[in-house]
Symmetry: C2
Subunit: 238 residues, 2 copies
DNA sequence: AGCTTAATCAAACGCTTGACTTAGTCAACC
DNA sequence: GGTTGACTAAGTCAAGCGTTTGATTAAGCT
């Protein structure tokens, strides 16, 4: 309350922040809905109710806008992931339980904060894009955080060979991204009895499932053993 | 050799077929590399060395071209999947071993036939697209084949509740599609020690891994049980 | 030889795209 | 009271877009 001269105490520069945010919101929505090539700047500014020049004023270019959309969500998301990881590392379980680590990774990316389903679909699109620019963008914002989770998983699974750990983390990313992308295949095949867009139900199944998958026996290097009649997994505890 | 009057006995209508195929090849490549919005008709015809009008003559529109690209690969692929499924159902193992069913589903989609990595990346892009048109396209070409595999899996896993089966099939699709899309995350995180673009190595790990995942205990409906110290999965049969 | 049909071409159509500019508005700060 | 930062309104620009046209060619049939 130091500066009493203000008549409007809510938000200095009411135009500045809201315009920027409205552009980011519209861009996030339309990029995720129609792709980066599919959504034009004109569509975005019309949806945001601002002028075309405002985009160039704030973000320089369309690519700059995409990066801003991405950074706005990713930075707090990575932060929350690491906080949750630190929390479960400091908890009474040492090393932390597998499902705690997995939850710390998945929750911030899939729940309502950090853009929710809209931003999630955008990330799925970028994962499928695989262009050089997109790869660099993702590497820049994801690498260090993901590496820390790989370390935590290795601690929790000391007997799992690195090769298995790596592949299974790859599959973790796969299930997360594909569930976020939600191409509608599983709904089509099961009369909507499975619904990946129900985030809570999705996570409630995905987390314990992935924990089981990580804990399963390592896959041996040798080509698939075909010992008949072994339809249940052999219980060789390391 | 019946019609001796022909001087060119190789392929009637040499223009028609080769032009069509060249357009399809170029479109498949450029669509998968740059997306459907990213690759323009002009880029495609330049790459194929044909005239712009040829695309509209053969396929009607850009969307028609995409559908033709899709159909050309998908139909033989679905056919091969069902053949392999029939083979392993007729084999000596009854019901067929899990990994045989999974192989029958994954192999035709990931190995060299049916477009290989190029077409695989296109499918991954379409999965992330999730527009109405794309969903319909995929539903039309995938639904019946996938439903048959769900049935086969249900036969092989009589004790697995339908809910678990559905989610796990969803995750199977996820790992397949994400591995095909190959966003480079796992290479970046592991100094290239994991390489999803090596199809053989990919499949050699993925098939037994997925078999284990399908065979793991069902996830109970109740919210995640947090009974401490149970770092290995509880062995509640059915 | 004459007619039909399929395949291909060069050229253009009307529109949209991302980028950028210029002139002007208007509240907030010094 | 002038300056500044954050825009708006309106437009320009070259490039590129998907699509269409009408002419041309080649092959097949009768």
């Amino acid at each position: 309350m130091a500066v009493a001269a203000h008549n409007a105490d809510v938000a200095i520069d009411p135009r500045g922040e809201s315009t920027r945010a409205r552009i980011l919101d519209s861009a996030e929505y339309l990029f995720s809905e129609q792709g980066m090539n599919g959504a034009s700047l004109r569509t975005i500014v019309a949806h945001a109710g601002v002028n075309t020049a405002a985009v160039h004023y704030h973000f320089g270019s369309k690519q700059g806008l995409l990066e801003a959309v991405f950074a706005r969500r990713i930075l707090p998301m990575a932060e929350e992931r690491l906080e949750l990881l630190a929390d479960c590392r400091a908890g009474e379980d040492r090393p932390p339980l597998l499902h705690q680590i997995i939850t710390a990774f998945l929750e911030p990316g899939m729940r309502g904060r950090h853009g929710g389903a809209t931003f999630a679909r955008l990330r799925a699109r970028m994962a499928a894009d695989a262009s050089d620019e997109t790869r660099k963008l993702m590497a820049h914002y994801f690498d260090s955080s993901s590496a820390k989770f790989l370390d935590a998983l290795a601690d929790a699974l000391p007997d799992l060979p690195a090769r298995d750990l790596h592949w299974r983390f790859h599959y973790l990313l796969a299930t997360m991204v594909y569930t976020m992308a939600n191409p509608g295949r599983i709904q089509a095949l099961t009369d909507n009895s499975c619904d990946p867009s129900d985030t809570d139900a999705s996570l409630a199944y995905l987390v314990p499932y992935l924990a089981q998958c990580f804990q399963a026996d390592p896959i041996s290097e040798a080509p698939v053993r075909l010992d008949r009649k072994t339809n249940t997994h052999n219980s060789s505890t390391n």
